[in-house]
């Protein structure tokens, strides 16, 4: 900026207001008398521009303003209470949502299990037996075993018949007997339990006597010889048991037929 290129009024005003403060303007003013005079005039005019003093207001001015507008202000509605703070990071919301879903799944699973246990069928049932009318209490962890008394008596009769005529010299015939005895031992205990509850003394007594025989047979080694079988037959009085089982079977068949007739 040289002497020939004088400062404009806007530049002088800007300099006076400290806008666009540049060293070149100040240097020019120091060297250029004409611009310095013009700048002094600008400063003088600006300094003279004094505005009328703002009218005084007392301390209650603000209060009066409030009273003049208070009636015109509608009341904001209080925000509805939220379950959780409104301003949370989006990630936290997502985490909470996932957690809530997971919680619901766990709750649903547990509730379903409990409902199943409560509503589920008895774990052990003896079909065709009056005992079955009472809902047996089954432990939830037990296997569900449905035992039909008539079937149990049939199978027991067959086992006792095979035991009576067992070929003691052939191990292959003994092993199936032992396996069948093990299965029948479990079924027999279920039957005993339910029969006692139903107060059928004849059936209960027969099943009680059958239990040691089945237990002994189930615990026999695979190499059961003729002497061992004879001992079992003698000790357990298997012939008498066979007779009792046959009687019970007949009675059970008659009872079932009677029920069918009654229903018809």
């Amino acid at each position: 900026m040289n002497h020939m290129q004088h400062l404009t009024e806007d530049e002088l005003v800007a300099h006076a207001y400290a806008e666009d403060e540049t060293e070149s303007v100040q240097q020019h003013l120091e060297r250029c008398a004409e611009c310095a005079t013009a700048y002094a005039a600008v400063r003088s005019d600006l300094d003279e521009m004094e505005f009328a003093a703002v009218p005084m207001r007392d301390e209650l001015h603000g209060k009066r303003v409030w009273e003049s507008i208070a009636d015109r202000l509608p009341e904001y509605e209080a925000p509805k209470r939220r379950w959780f703070p409104g301003r949370m990071p989006g990630g936290l919301w997502g985490g909470l949502a996932v957690g809530a879903c997971a919680g619901l799944l766990v709750f649903g699973f547990v509730a379903g299990r409990l409902w199943e246990r409560k509503q589920g069928q008895p774990a052990q049932t003896i079909a065709g037996n009056p005992v079955q009318q009472k809902p047996p209490v089954a432990h939830p962890q037990e296997r569900v075993v449905v035992v039909v008394l008539s079937d149990h008596l049939d199978r027991t009769e067959r086992l006792l018949m095979e035991l009576k005529h067992a070929d003691t010299g052939n191990a292959e015939t003994v092993s199936p007997l032992r396996d069948e005895a093990r299965t029948l031992l479990v079924a027999n205990r279920i039957c005993r339990k339910n029969t006692k509850q139903d107060d059928d003394p004849d059936l209960a007594a027969a099943l009680d006597r059958l239990d040691p025989l089945l237990a002994a047979l189930a615990s026999q080694p695979a190499s059961l010889d003729s002497a061992g079988i004879a001992r079992l037959q003698e000790e357990m009085n298997s012939d008498r048991l066979l007779f009792e089982v046959r009687v019970l079977r007949s009675r059970q068949a008659a009872s079932t037929a009677q029920k069918k007739d009654g229903r018809i």
């Binding site: 806007d10 806008e19 005019d45 600006l46 009218p55 207001r57 409030w66 904001y76 509605e77």
Partner: protein
């Protein structure tokens, strides 16, 4: 954040929660500053009072959009400037009393409405304040507001631009034009006196 800001923000939260009375604290706290700038822009007590009331009414209606990170004093100050600008821009009173803008002040006689103050009265008056008041009427509302904010309120051009909702450079140009006009008017008035 200053203590006043915290106090302002607490009052705003209370208002938005349904406690209208909490707004009173904000009105009492900021009235003096708003009245001052309103009076300087309008140049009239009654208009300044109207501007202050309108400012608080507008601010209340916009309160739910107020950013809690902002300074309430700055925010409502801008609203007040805008209301004052609207006041002087929409006032038809100016048409009868202001110096005609289209005239060339360097060549023409000063045109002032007789009812308010005629040239004869001005000639009799040596009070610079009276001359300035009439000189101010030669400015457009934006120039007048920009000049007041820069010259009296010591606002930067950026702040003026924000308050007047114009670009900072436009605000600066408005200040330059205002100063130019005022200097010319005052020079002529001085010659008359």
């Amino acid at each position: 954040m200053s203590g006043m800001d915290k106090s302002d923000h607490a009052a705003i939260r209370a208002v938005l929660s349904g406690d209208k009375k909490a707004y009173e604290a904000l009105v009492v706290r900021h009235t003096a500053r708003l009245f001052r700038v309103a009076f300087r822009i309008t140049g009239n007590e009654a208009d300044a009072e109207d501007v202050v009331q309108e400012t608080f009414l507008q601010a209340y209606r916009k309160l739910d959009g107020f950013e809690q990170r902002s300074d309430f004093g700055t925010w409502i100050y801008r609203i007040a400037v805008h209301c004052a600008l609207k006041n002087i821009g929409g006032s038809r009173l100016d048409e009868s009393s202001r110096v005609a803008e289209q005239s060339n002040p360097e060549l023409d006689e000063i045109q002032v409405a007789d009812r308010v103050a005629g040239p004869d009265r001005l000639l009799l008056s040596s009070e610079i304040g009276t001359m300035q008041a009439f000189a101010m009427h030669s400015l457009t509302p934006v120039e007048r507001a920009a000049f007041v904010l820069r010259h009296v309120e010591d606002c930067s051009c950026e702040e003026i631009g924000t308050a007047l909702q114009i670009a900072p450079n436009a605000a600066k140009q408005a200040v330059f034009r205002a100063v130019h006009k005022l200097r010319l008017r005052l020079a002529v008035l001085r010659m008359k006196v």
